[in-house]
């Protein structure tokens, strides 16, 4: 999965406009980033990356970029 695709998956999940999020977007400023979204994110990573991400690490994430790191995407550049 590319970084762009990842961001568009997150946009889908949060039901926000395409192109409204970027790597540096702060999760605390995204109103729809709530506990239901976290569950949706866990499912998204499980489905696309084949593992269950740690809810604790997700809770510690500040930006979309941090979520990419959880998914292992930062390694692909």
């Amino acid at each position: 999965m590319t970084r762009d695709k990842f961001i568009s998956e997150i946009e889908n999940l949060l039901e926000v406009d395409a192109g409204s999020l970027a790597g540096e977007s702060l999760l605390q400023n995204i109103q729809r980033w709530d506990s239901l979204a976290v569950v949706g994110f866990i499912a998204m990573v499980d489905e696309n990356f084949g593992f269950t991400p740690s809810p604790k690490k997700i809770a510690e994430s500040a930006t979309i970029e941090d979520l990419m790191k959880i998914a292992g995407l930062h390694l692909e550049g």
Partner: protein, 362 residues
């Protein structure tokens, strides 16, 4: 993971009861806002649930279900060797509720009676326990009661306020000469203690003036330490890690496949989790009956409630290969494959306080 095979037992009747008072998500529009409530409902799938009024306990619902089942199946009360009450909402701190239930159901004094404290995994554990009493301890007929009333839920906590429904159920497990086999897989991971917990009110943290006070928690939710806390993300991560694994293991151990099982009756945690798990395990949605839209998450009662609500006609008429899967509080999980059918299955019982008064007066 514990694996157990029990032969020579059968489920011969199931009955379920809920309080007659229906509750709807719209009751929370003022508190959380309509949009937020509808978003929660879209995720959980709970459109309606039944909640016990003050004065109605899980044991009352179980007794109503058992009474109807014993009557409809024409089982002699003297033939019940043991009654198990599996619940997280007993009548009293003590005595245990099964003793009271023995009296109320007019079961013989020779009957063994005890409580078990388990939640979402309870139906599978309960069948395993009842089956073990028959196959290993010489009993012939066991009455397995389970259910909860979720009185300790804060209506100011949106993570739990709209999810749970109350129910009580009754299952008869008995000895049979048939060779049919129940295959169980059971597991536990106590690391889940803090993910689904009512921290105060028992021995670890007794009630005091501070434990009763509701305080602001995460996401603007409010609850006291005597009310249920649920970490949905942790529960979901746990379910993803353990449920597909236990289902795979029980299928292999019982030499069955996703195709040969007629129905996967799973604990009704919430709609999103159930649908995602089914997709992950490549089980067609038609094989995973859903009752939570109508009754909510009814804890240990959710598997029998789902059978009463969705499979009653079929189970009354014919035998089917079923897989039951429970998972949650503890963490604790269990799955069983078995053949069930041509059994006594009364319609869903809707219990009112007035019905209870009438019964007591008899």
């Amino acid at each position: 993971m514990a694996l157990a095979r029990i032969r020579g037992i059968r489920i011969s009747g199931i009955a379920s009861a809920v309080p007659d008072q229906a509750h709807f998500p719209s009751e929370f529009f003022d508190r959380f806002g309509k949009e937020e409530v509808l978003k929660i409902v879209e995720n959980t799938g709970v459109q309606k649930r039944y909640i016990a009024p003050p004065g109605m306990c899980a044991s009352d619902l179980c007794v109503a279900a058992a009474d109807r089942l014993l009557t409809e199946g024409k089982w002699e009360r003297e033939s019940i060797d043991a009654v198990i009450f599996l619940s997280q909402s007993p009548d009293y701190e003590l005595p245990f509720s099964a003793a009271t239930i023995q009296r109320r159901l007019r079961l013989p004094n020779e009957c063994a009676a005890f409580d078990v404290n388990l939640g979402c995994s309870g139906y599978v554990y309960g069948l395993w326990l009842a089956g073990s009493l028959i196959s290993g301890a010489g009993m012939r007929r066991v009455l397995l009661l389970m259910g909860d009333t979720s009185t300790k839920v804060s209506e100011e906590d949106r993570s739990v306020a709209l999810l749970f429904g109350d129910a009580g159920t009754s299952t008869i497990v008995e000895k049979t000469d048939k060779k049919e086999r129940f295959t169980f897989v059971l597991g536990t991971d106590g690391k889940g203690e803090q993910s689904l917990i009512i921290p105060a009110g028992r021995c670890r943290k007794p009630t005091d003036e501070t434990t009763r006070v509701r305080r602001e928690a995460e996401n603007g939710n409010h609850r006291s330490e005597e009310e249920l806390y649920m970490n949905g993300a942790e529960i979901f991560a746990f379910s993803l890690a353990e449920v597909p694994k236990m289902v795979r293991q029980v299928l292999v151990a019982s030499e069955k496949t996703v195709e040969t099982i007629d129905f996967f009756v799973l604990h009704q945690a919430n709609k999103f989790i159930l649908e995602y798990l089914a997709k992950r395990m490549k089980i067609h949605g038609d094989k995973v009956p859903i009752s939570l839209d109508e009754y909510g998450n009814t804890s240990s009662a959710s598997i029998p409630v789902t059978m009463t609500h969705c499979l009653r006609d079929q189970l009354s008429r014919k035998k089917m290969d079923l897989l039951f899967g429970g998972f949650g509080v503890g963490y604790s999980w269990g799955a069983v494959t078995c053949t069930v059918g041509e059994i006594v299955m009364p319609e869903m019982i809707f219990l009112s306080l007035r019905d209870m008064d009438k019964k007591d007066a008899q």
